[in-house]
Amino acid sequence: MSYDVILSRDSFLLSVELRIFWAIALIYGASLLLHLVHIASRGALAGRAAYLLLWAAAVPHAGLILLRTFEAGRAPFQTLYESLSWFACSAVLTWLFVSRKWKGFFLPGALVSALALGASLYALLSRSPAIEPLSPPLQSWWFESHVILAFFSYAVFIVSASIEISWLAFRKRSDLYGLPEEQLKGFHDTAHRLILFGFPLLTFGIFSGAAWANEAWGRYWSWDPKETWSLITWTVFAVYLHSKTVPALKGTPASVFNILGFICMLMTFLGVNWLAKLLGIPSLHIYSV
C-alpha cells in the first residue's frame, strides 16, 4: 500500500470517528437537558427520554472505542483524548447497567450525562485525537490491567456519587420522581454496594500501578501528584467504608464522605494535571497530561 493511500485512509477514518464522537457528545448534551427538564417538571416522559438518549449515545460510543482499538492496534486509553472517551462511555454504561433495578427513577442520570458530556467536549475541543505508537514505558501488561481496573472503579464511583447526591437532594420527595418511599433505602444502599464493588478495584489499580512503577522506573512509590491523589481517593473511600460501620457517622456524614471521594477521584483523573501545571510540580504521568 502506498503512503498516499495510507495517509488518506487514516484521515478518512479519523474524520468519521470525529463526526460520530461529536454526534455522541450532542446526544449526551440532549440527555442532560432532558434530565434537567425532568428535575424541574417531575415529568416521567422527559426522564424516560433522557434515559433512552443515554442508551442511544453509549452503544455507538462503545462501538467507537472498539473502532479506535482496531485502528491503533492497542488498548484505547493511551492519550488523554482516549481516556476521556473511555471515562465517559464506561460511566454511562455502568449507570445503564445499575439503573435496570430502578426502572422509572432517572435522577442519577443527570450527573452521569453531565460528566459524559463534559469529558467528551473536553476530549474533542482540547485534546488531539492523533493515534500515536505506544511509548516504551506503556508496553507492559500492567498498563492494561492498571488502567482498565482504575477506570472501572471510576465509573462505579461516578454512579455511586450520582445515587448519593440524588438521595441527599430528593430523598424527601423521591416518590414525585418515580421512586416509592419503601424503595428509598434499597436505592440508597446501592451507593454503598457500588463503593464496596469499586474499592477493591481501586486498591488493585493502585497496587498494580506501584508494581508497574517498580518495573519501569525502579521505584514503587515516588509521591508523584497523580500517585498521591489516587492514595487520597483510596483513603477517603476507606473513611467512607469505615464510617458506614459507626452509628454516629453512617447517615449523612458517610454520604458526604462518598461525595468527597468522588471529587478526589475527579482530582486524580483530571484535576491533578491542572494542579501540577498551576503549581509547576513535575509529574511522572506525563502521558496522561
Binding site: 519501569a216 525502579g218 473513611v239 469505615h242 459507626v246 494542579l275
Partner: protein, 488 residues
C-alpha cells in the same frame, strides 16, 4: 505505712495506667480510624500542593506566600517531616491495635442475641418436632449451613467464606505492606551508572540507606562488574496529524466541513523500544546476563538494574579538520568558524517498522537545524555532509551509552507479600458471600411456624435466594409451607 512519696508514685502510676488504657481504647476504635484516615488524606493533599523536594531559599526567592508555614512544618519535604511521620505513626498504631483486637476476637466465643427479628416466616402443616428436624436437615444437608450456636431458643447457623478471617487478613496484609514501606524508608538507596559498550564497570553506589549510613557510612563496592554487550533501538514510523488548535475549527471538523489531514514529517520515527544486553561479570565468568529494556530490569545480588535511557555522542568533522568535533545528540553545538548554533536531534540507528509494515535497517542519521531558525530540519546521514554557514560538516561516527539506574530495596518483597494477602482477602471479603442464619420453630395453639432471620455479607450474597430455596425445599419435604407476610 506508705510515705507521701509512695502515695504520689502510686497515684502517678495509676494516672499513667489510666492514660495508657484510654489511649489503647481510643486507638482500637473504628471511629479513631475514621479521623486518622481523614487526617492522613488531608496531609497527603498538603504534600501535593507544595512541590516536594523544592529548595526553601528558592521558594522564598520566588515570592512563596506561605513562608512561615513552609518553614514550620517542613512542607517542601512534607512526607519525611516530623508532622507527617507522627500522623502516619498514629495511623499505623491504630491499624496494628485494631488488627490485634480482631485477631483476639476470632478465637473468642461468639455471642448472639437471645432473640432475632424474623425476616421470613412459614406456617407449616407438620408438628413442631418434625418441622424442626426437616428444617435442620434442609439447612445442613441441602444448603450446606454449619451449626454455630444452639444455646438459646434460636438455632444459629452460617455458610460461606469466613468473612471475619478475611476482614482480619486484609488488615494484617496492610500491616505487612507498611512493614515493607518501613524497610524501604530505612534501607533503600539508588544511584545511576552510565555504560559504554564493551567497557566493564564496577557498581560503586554514592548513596546509601538511612540505616546503613549510621553503621557503615556508605555502601560497599560490589565484587562484580557490569558489562554492556550491545545496545539497540527500535523505531516505528508514524504520521503526523495536522489538527487545528482553534476550537471552532475543531467543531468544523466534527461537522464534516473540514477534513483532518495526516502528513509525514522530516523525521517520522518514534522510538518504541531500546534494549541493552547486560552481563554481570565476576572474575572471568559471566554470573548473569539479560537483555534489559524498560519494564524488564535485571535483578542480581540484591540490586535491580533498570534501563532509564541512553546518551548518544556524535563525531562531526568540520571542513578538513583532523580533530573531530564531539557533540551530544539532542543538544546544540557551536560550529567552529561560524556564528551558528546547530541544533542536533536524536541519532536514529537500528531497525524501523515503516508505515506500510515493512522493516528496514536504518542508515544512522541525525536531524540538524539552525537553532535560531524556524525552518524544517535537514537530515544528516552517517558519512554525509551538510554545509553550515559555508563550513562542510560531516557526520563521521557516533557512540551510544546506556544510562542505568540501580536500586537496593529489601522492602519490595515484603510489600508484595502484604499486598497480595490484602488484595486477595479484600476481593474475597467484599465480593464473596457469607450468610448468618438463625431459625426457631414456634408451636403456639397448635399452629406451627418456622421463623428465619438471614443476614449476609459480601456482594454476591443474596438472602432472597436463600429464602426462596428454603421455601422450595420445605415444599419438597412435604411441610407445605405458607409464607407469612414480612415482619420486618
Amino acid at each position: 505505712m506508705k510515705t507521701r512519696t509512695d502515695i504520689k508514685n502510686i497515684e502517678w502510676l495509676s494516672s499513667l495506667r489510666k492514660a495508657l488504657a484510654w489511649s489503647y481504647r481510643k486507638l482500637s476504635s473504628i471511629e479513631t480510624s475514621v479521623w486518622l484516615l481523614s487526617l492522613l488524606a488531608i496531609s497527603f493533599m498538603v504534600g501535593t500542593i507544595f512541590p516536594q523536594g523544592g529548595d526553601f531559599d528558592e521558594y522564598v526567592k520566588e515570592g512563596g506566600r506561605f513562608v512561615l508555614l513552609v518553614e514550620a512544618f517542613d512542607l517542601l519535604a512534607f512526607f519525611s517531616s516530623p508532622l507527617f511521620l507522627a500522623i502516619a505513626l498514629l495511623f499505623v498504631l491504630n491499624l496494628v491495635i485494631c488488627t490485634c483486637e480482631r485477631y483476639k476476637a476470632l478465637f473468642a466465643k461468639r455471642r448472639f442475641p437471645e432473640s432475632f427479628a424474623p425476616t421470613k416466616s412459614f406456617l407449616v402443616t407438620q408438628d413442631a418436632i418434625r418441622a424442626h428436624d426437616e428444617t435442620r436437615r434442609i439447612l445442613n444437608d441441602s444448603l450446606g449451613f454449619r451449626l454455630v450456636d444452639k444455646d438459646s431458643a434460636w438455632i444459629v447457623m452460617e455458610k460461606g467464606l469466613p468473612y471475619r478471617w478475611l476482614t482480619w487478613a486484609y488488615h494484617a496484609g496492610l500491616v505487612v505492606c507498611l512493614i515493607g514501606v518501613l524497610f524501604t524508608f530505612l534501607f533503600a538507596f539508588e544511584d545511576t551508572i552510565t555504560l559504554k559498550t564493551g567497557s566493564p564497570q564496577t557498581v560503586i553506589p554514592t548513596t546509601t540507606g538511612r540505616v546503613q549510613y549510621i553503621w557503615q557510612n556508605g555502601s560497599p563496592q560490589t565484587d562484580y562488574h557490569l558489562l554492556l554487550d550491545s545496545f539497540t533501538t527500535e523505531y516505528e514510523e508514524s504520521h503526523e496529524l495536522d489538527y487545528p488548535d482553534d476550537r471552532k475549527a475543531r467543531l468544523a471538523m466534527g461537522l464534516g466541513w473540514k477534513m483532518p489531514e495526516h502528513k509525514m514529517s522530516v523525521d517520522p520515527l518514534f522510538a518504541t523500544d531500546w534494549k541493552a544486553k547486560l552481563k554481570i561479570i565476576g572474575g572471568s565468568s559471566t554470573l548473569a546476563e539479560k537483555e534489559i529494556e524498560i519494564n524488564e530490569p535485571l535483578k542480581y545480588g540484591g540490586y535491580t538494574f533498570y534501563l532509564m535511557g541512553f546518551e548518544q555522542r556524535l563525531k562531526l568533522r568540520v571542513n578538513d579538520s583532523f580533530m573531530p568535533l564531539d557533540a551530544k545528540a539532542d543538544d546544540d553545538v557551536i560550529i567552529p568558524g561560524s556564528m551558528i548554533a546547530l541544533s542536533l536531534g536524536t541519532l536514529r540507528t537500528g531497525k524501523a517498522k515503516r508505515l506500510d509494515g515493512t522493516i528496514d535497517e536504518l542508515t544512522p542519521y541525525v536531524t540538524v537545524k539552525d537553532s535560531a531558525s524556524k525552518d524544517e530540519p535537514a537530515i544528516l546521514k552517517l558519512n554525509d555532509s551538510i554545509i553550515v554557514d559555508g563550513n562542510i560538516v560531516t557526520l563521521i561516527g557516533f557512540t551510544e551509552q546506556a544510562i542505568l539506574s540501580y536500586r537496593y530495596d529489601p522492602g519490595v518483597t515484603i510489600l508484595w507479600i502484604g499486598g497480595i494477602i490484602a488484595l486477595v482477602a479484600l476481593f474475597l471479603r467484599l465480593y464473596g458471600s457469607y450468610y448468618l442464619l438463625a431459625y426457631k420453630v414456634d408451636d403456639a395453639d397448635a399452629i406451627v411456624t418456622v421463623n428465619f432471620n438471614i443476614t449476609s455479607k459480601g456482594l454476591l450474597a443474596s438472602p432472597e435466594h436463600i429464602e426462596n430455596r428454603i421455601e422450595e425445599l420445605l415444599t419438597a419435604g412435604d411441610l407445605k409451607p405458607l409464607a407469612l407476610p414480612e415482619q420486618t
